[in-house]
Amino acid sequence: MNDLMPQLQSLLTHVDWSEIGWASWDTLVMVGVSLLFSVLIGLPLGVLLFLTSKRQLLAQTRVYAVLSFVVNILRSVPFIILLIVMIPVTMMIIGTSLGVAGAIPPLVAGGAPFFARLVETSLREVDRGIIEATQAMGASVRQIVLGALLPEALPGIIAGITVTAITLVSYAAMSGVVGGGGLGDLAIRFGYQRFQTDVMVITVALLVIFVQLLQMLGDRLVLYFSRR
């Protein structure tokens, strides 16, 4: 134990803490912004997937098939490939494919369809009787979705946001490979390319803590909104 402390200390002196601070902030921004857009795109997409599926309010077999196909494609491409494939698209939207901003479009492309499926699943778990009852009150489809379906599915949707956020943390780290910023970038540049194991360990530890915090927050929110 006495031998370990100085060793650990010397190990950590090589670490540039301000660099780690900035990288953590970048990761936070990447996850935050891409989560926001994933939810903004994934939520309506998930609702549409649900509504157009068989025996639902707007059952449209063809529309569902097309939407489902697109979502499946985006979900079946490994994220590391999606990162590369998305580069020209990112260039078009952001003007660069590098750094924090450059990482966001591929993160959204990976996160939104993932979240959309989670939304679809949680809507499916809402009792059909509730839809029927709301319909019987004279509600429009829009009112059924906003007034009954989404509030009833809220705990499931929040759990879905948590899972998506955590997935985005790992995706964001991966984006370091193609020049995205954040902790993943740090781990690759220092930990992998310069053999600084200490930096690697610290970034991984930070990512683990980040994921733990997200999960805890998500679980609390789910509990708060569950009335069953």
Partner: protein, 335 residues
């Protein structure tokens, strides 16, 4: 008045049309409690959902107060649905909303009421269903009977003229069933609301309904005032339902009849006649002896009735029959 004019419904299953309701014509009077009884799959659930068009008929027309509701466009249909309340077997309350918000929900959807109106109406409805002070609770904190009361309050929120009840008491215990049925009967009397009630229990029909339709295999096989259908069932399905509700085992009844000697009669009494000391008089005047094989004294809605199966031996049988025929009693000779 709700009129079914040759209404039919078929479901497309694997390219084939499976009939759920064969062409049916019937009318339900304004202000009556109309029961629809049948086993599961008999088409009663389809029939009731056709009234507020949760199911679209595949043929025929439905008229409510003279208007062809089957021709309504989506806007008019939504306005019409607000005038038709509905309650469900599993209550279908929103678990994410409080009791008060559940009751307010249809009014908010309608967009025709001010916040103050809604609050006042919710309080009024909570009092009507005896749930005052429970408004802030969530449905998960309520018992089944209380949940159904919330369902009833919610269904009445927009002051409907028709209330549809889909197996509303099937998930409740007998005692709670009784109190919910009493509430429905009160509502019918106080508000003059037309109630259409589907159930698989003849007992529910007996307690609250004015008229009843018996369904089997997607058809209405018998329809009439509850006392007639209940006391003199014509169709085999109806007879099964009545037997079931009286907990009569047909096999046991048969052996009982075999053991009995003499003439076997079934007497049906209704109203005041139920309380007459009839049997003693018959015995005195004709000298017959009788034994009671089975019997039941109960109520159909508020009207008392009695139904007795007797075997008569000795004495003057013709005289006994004459006395019975003179009294206000329906006599059926079983043997």
């Amino acid at each position: 008045m709700i009129e079914f004019d040759q209404v039919e419904k078929a479901y497309q299953v694997g390219g084939r049309a499976i009939p759920a309701l064969h062409p049916t014509s019937l009318s339900i009077q304004t202000g009556e409690v109309f029961g629809i009884v049948g086993h599961s799959g008999a088409g009663k659930s389809t029939l009731v959902r056709l009234i507020n068009l949760l199911e679209r008929p595949t043929g025929g027309r439905i008229l409510v107060d003279g208007e062809v509701v089957t021709d309504y466009g989506s806007g008019t249909l939504r306005a019409f649905r607000r005038k038709v309340g509905m309650i469900f077997q599993h209550f279908n309350l929103l678990s994410s909303k409080t009791v008060a918000d559940n009751i307010a929900f249809p009014m908010k959807l309608a967009g025709l009421y001010s916040a103050a109106d809604i609050r006042a109406r919710v309080d009024e409805l909570l009092a009507l269903v005896s749930l005052t002070d429970q408004g802030r609770k969530y449905p998960s904190q309520l018992s089944g009977g209380q949940k159904q009361r919330v369902g009833i309050a919610r269904a009445l929120a927009c002051r409907p003229t028709i209330l549809l009840c889909d197996e509303a008491t099937s998930a409740l215990d007998p005692q709670t069933t009784q109190s919910v049925l009493k509430l429905l009967a009160d509502i019918n009397r106080q508000l003059g609301l037309t109630i259409v009630l589907i159930t698989h229990e003849m007992d529910v029909v007996r307690r609250v309904c004015d008229r009843v339709a018996v369904m089997d295999g997607g058809k209405v096989v018998e329809l009439g005032p509850v006392n007639e259908v209940f006391l003199h069932p014509q169709h085999a399905t109806t007879r099964d339902f009545v037997m079931e509700s009286e907990r009569v085992d047909q096999e046991e009844l048969k052996t009982d009849l075999q053991h009995a000697s003499g003439r076997i009669l079934r007497l049906t009494l209704q109203g005041e006649a139920t309380y007459q000391p009839l049997l003693g008089r018959v015995a005195r005047e004709s000298g017959v002896d009788f034994s009671i094989l089975s019997g039941r004294i109960d109520h159909i809605k508020e009207t008392p009735y009695g139904q007795l199966t007797l075997s008569l031996v000795g004495g003057d049988l013709d005289q006994a029959m004459a006395v019975l025929n003179r009294a206000d009693v329906h006599v059926e000779v079983l043997r």
